[in-house]
């Protein structure tokens, strides 16, 4: 694999994009399948486009360069009692802010207040013609112009290279409690999802490992209130409150995808709660495969051991690492999608929307 270009300024990033007929951006490399493209691509690393440009705690906003490790952002926010409520993923693994957006990987906390798409405010990016463009804004409310910032979520570098991103943040709740609730099978888990999601308790995160007869729910707020809420929940559902050490370990297992095989295929799928049972059954039917359900049944992950091909789930997904097609499941390629691609990248400098390299 060729050595990547490493621009240190946006001007150098523009030059890097213009320097080759085909380019692909790479961030921390934590979701390597997204940037695994055919030969003939020049790789542009955002590693040296690193740093928080502006952080205004009183505004609930920050702007950082695309290559800034999420780790640095999470730390800077925590120092001011703030956070990205969606639980950014692969933070310890070295994921960058730009990579998180390009990969469209929000975490468990997306259940309550939404994911990346609900907190991104603005982007600066270089399009396929090498123009540096800024769309969206830096304030928490903005309706001017087309919403390119949202469009770049999950776009895997197909429309441009991100240079800088602005996000909204929230104050971190004073405390949190994680409950482990018993659920014998996925039918029971889905019932628990609905009961918890439609309750008065305002659940922040709602996850279920495939291999364990349990659902995990997290609530956040003032400590005294949480103890009362947790007691009420446990009065209605069988389970327990985790210690804070156990809770931290559990949520790290999810956000760092530590439950997954370290090699093989790892893929994410968009689900609806009613499809969770069938999804879980398909994972189970695949020898050695592991799975995880997140966001109250709206996200499913599958990890297969090295050498085991990913089964067909019949639902849309994306491969994050390992040897499987990038885009999974049934997709309709509308004509307008090709035209928008051409509008942002007329010379097809970035990888094709579909993989036909």
């Amino acid at each position: 694999m060729s050595i990547a270009l490493e621009p240190t300024t946006t001007a150098e990033l523009v030059d890097a994009v213009r320097s080759a007929p085909r380019v692909i951006a790479i961030g921390g490399g934590t979701k390597p399948r997204l940037s695994r493209v055919g030969d003939g691509f020049t790789r542009i690393s955002t590693a040296k486009l690193n740093g928080i440009v502006e952080y205004e705690p009183s505004e609930f906003t920050f702007t950082a360069q695309a290559g800034t490790p999420l780790r640095d952002i999470v730390k800077a926010l925590a120092e001011r009692g703030q956070y990205l409520p969606f639980d950014p993923m692969l933070v310890r693994a070295g994921s960058t802010l730009g990579g998180a957006v390009a990969g469209g990987l929000s975490g468990s906390g997306r259940f309550r207040f939404g994911g990346l798409r609900d907190f991104i405010l603005g982007i600066r990016f270089v399009d396929g013609e090498g123009r540096l463009l800024r769309l969206g804004g830096k304030v928490v409310k903005n309706a001017a112009g087309f919403d390119l910032p949202k469009f770049f979520i999950g776009s895997a570098g197909r429309f441009g290279v991100l240079a800088e991103l602005s996000f909204k943040v929230f104050p971190r709740p004073a405390a949190s409690r994680t409950l482990r609730l018993e659920a014998a099978d996925f039918g029971a888990k889905v019932k628990l999802f609905a009961a918890l999601a439609n309750s008065r308790w305002e659940i922040d995160a709602l996850d279920a490992p495939l291999e364990e007869p349990a659902v995990y729910a997290r609530i956040g707020g003032p400590a005294t209130a949480l103890d009362a809420l947790a007691a009420e929940i446990l009065g209605r559902m069988r389970g327990m409150v985790l210690t804070s050490g156990e809770a931290d370990f559990f949520w790290l297992t999810v956000s760092e995808l530590r439950w997954a095989h370290s090699t093989g295929v790892l893929a994410k799928f968009a689900l609806v709660p009613t499809a969770v049972e069938a999804f879980a059954a398909r994972v189970r039917a695949c020898t050695g495969a592991r799975g995880w359900i997140s966001a109250g049944g709206n996200v499913g992950y599958v990890s297969t051991p090295a050498g085991t091909p990913l089964p067909d789930f019949g639902t849309v997904g994306v491969t994050l690492r390992g040897d499987a097609p990038l885009w999974l499941g049934p997709r309709t390629r509308f004509e307008v999608m090709n035209k928008v691609k051409a509008a942002l990248d007329p010379q097809n400098r970035f990888p094709d929307l579909d993989e036909r390299e």
């Binding site: 798409r117 112009g145 895997a156 004073a174 609905a194 439609n198 707020g221 307008v336 509008a343």
Partner: protein, 490 residues
């Protein structure tokens, strides 16, 4: 700009063919029939379209759009006509496609907390349908009793709860739409997760320039169990602004933080008999929400913060009736101020929250210098201003002077690092200011994207982008629905 057939005869033939597309009586062409469609809530502008199409089904909308494509006939989609930026202002060389009859809630799934609706469904009707299940649709523009989801989607409508819950785009999971090309597309779906580029996110807020949404999948949220709404009066606007800063710095995340200035208070008193602490230049409204235990703990902190903020008086709502009274005063503020003046312009620029005080000082200074009265009500939590610029359209040059002040305010918002629109969209009203916020390259980029969806420029042309083709300027007073107190400008 693509012109429709230029000769009168040619156009008459086009309209006859259009009339044949829909059952009798659903292509309106008489001046009296079309009068209601000539303007929206940006009442300074109006234009008479060639015809108004009244489809009742998605297939009829698709057929009309494809007809427009084949005839290169511009069209403007319209819901309830509440756009404050002139988003549904008709074109004299085009038709209006009114979507009010596509008003079915196609699916409401309380377990998955989603609703699939047609574009003509009224915003509040979604919440009404969801309420029996303890759910609601979060975006609450103050015209929510009449504005439609289709319009909300086109303009990414906001409301009073955006800091915590986001805008329309944060609640739209999927869209089926017919584009300017006639292509019917489906983006997103019932899952709260998206895979691949967020086409749904790109579509929301397109201001009608991409096409017409036919079916929209919305996420619903559980209704908060408990509210705690506080009204606090201050001698000065600065004190009210400092209180907002203190609330935000405390780590609380209120559902809404609003400020009303003196002129707006006086108007609300006159209009809906709202009562405010005497001697106040500004009133702050803060609302906490959540499970009762959380609200109980948070309100102790809020009370401490407000007590320390030198208020004239702090009035917590003791029950639901008092809470509604506080909101009634707030939501009526604009139509109430409208009674003080024959005409007004309202804008929705955004500044960084910490610069709110500075922004308001400047607005008041310019108001004094120019002798143009200006009332301020704003979503303080997210820095979203709503200066209401009063003028009398019968006075020569008054509208132009008011517009000049409005323009100064918008440029100030951009200079302060904010936005020219927080929730009303660019539309006709602010299209000349787009270039203050975006470079020529950035505008060109957006125009190329628009051309991907609508290469013939027939879907709502003349909106968003600076354009030489200015619609007819006229001078009106309040929108009839505003006079009736059904909608208000915020």
């Amino acid at each position: 700009m693509v012109k429709a057939s230029t000769t009168g005869q040619g156009m008459a033939a086009v309209l006859r063919r259009l009339a044949a597309l829909l059952p009798a009586g659903r292509i309106l062409q008489g001046p009296a029939q079309m009068a209601a469609y000539e303007s929206d809530a940006l009442t300074a502008f109006h234009a008479r379209p060639l015809a108004v199409a009244v489809p009742q089904t998605q297939d009829e909308v698709i057929a009309v759009v494809r007809f427009c494509r084949d005839e290169k006939l511009p069209f403007v989609a319209r819901g309830s006509g509440t756009s404050l930026s002139g988003g549904s202002l008709p074109l004299e060389n085009g038709i209006v496609i009114t979507l009010n009859r596509l008003n079915r809630i196609l699916r409401l799934d309380p377990e998955q907390r989603i609703a699939v609706v047609e574009p003509g469904v009224v915003n509040l009707a979604v919440t009404a349908a969801a309420a029996p299940f303890g759910l609601h649709y979060a975006p609450d523009p103050s015209s929510q009793s009449i504005c439609t989801i289709g319009g909300n989607v086109a303009f990414n409508a906001g409301g009073a709860h955006c800091l915590k819950y986001g805008m329309t785009s944060n609640h739209v999971l999927g869209v089926k739409a017919v584009l300017g090309t006639g292509e019917v597309v489906e983006f997103g779906g019932p899952s709260r997760e998206q895979i691949g580029p967020d086409w749904t996110g790109l579509f929301v807020g397109n201001e009608g320039l991409f096409g017409i949404a036919l079916e929209i999948t919305l996420q619903l949220l559980p209704r908060a169990e408990c509210y705690h709404t506080v009204l606090a009066g201050y001698r000065t606007l600065e004190q009210a602004g400092d209180a907002v800063t203190a609330v935000v710095a405390s780590g609380l995340l209120p559902g809404a933080i609003e400020i009303m200035e003196k002129l707006a208070l006086e108007a609300a008193v006159a209009a809906v008999h709202a009562e405010y602490p005497p001697g106040c230049e500004a009133v702050l409204i803060v609302e906490l929400e959540g499970p009762r235990e959380v609200v109980a703990a948070d309100r102790v902190r809020l009370d401490e913060i407000l007590a320390a903020s030198s208020p004239v008086e702090v009035r917590p709502a003791r029950d639901a009736v008092e809470r509604l009274a506080i909101w009634k005063g707030r939501k009526s503020a604009f139509s109430a101020v409208g009674r003080l003046s024959p005409d007004f312009i309202v804008q929705d620029g955004v500044v960084p929250r910490r610069r709110l005080g500075e922004a308001l000082r400047k607005i008041n200074e310019w108001s004094r210098e120019s002798g143009i009265r200006c009332a301020n009500v704003f979503h303080a939590g997210d820095g979203n201003l709503h200066p209401l610029i009063l003028y009398d359209g019968r006075e020569p040059g008054a509208l132009q002077r008011a517009e000049a002040l409005a323009g100064k305010i918008l440029r100030m918002c951009v200079e302060m690092g904010g936005s020219i629109t927080g929730e009303h969209g660019i539309g006709v009203e602010k299209r000349d200011y787009l270039a203050d916020m975006f470079s020529a390259d950035e505008i060109a980029c957006m125009q190329r994207i628009r051309a991907a969806f609508d290469p013939l420029t027939i879907a709502n042309p003349g909106k968003m982008f600076p354009s030489a083709e200015a619609p007819a300027l006229t001078q009106h007073g309040l929108h009839p629905l505003e006079k009736a107190g059904v909608i208000s400008r915020e």
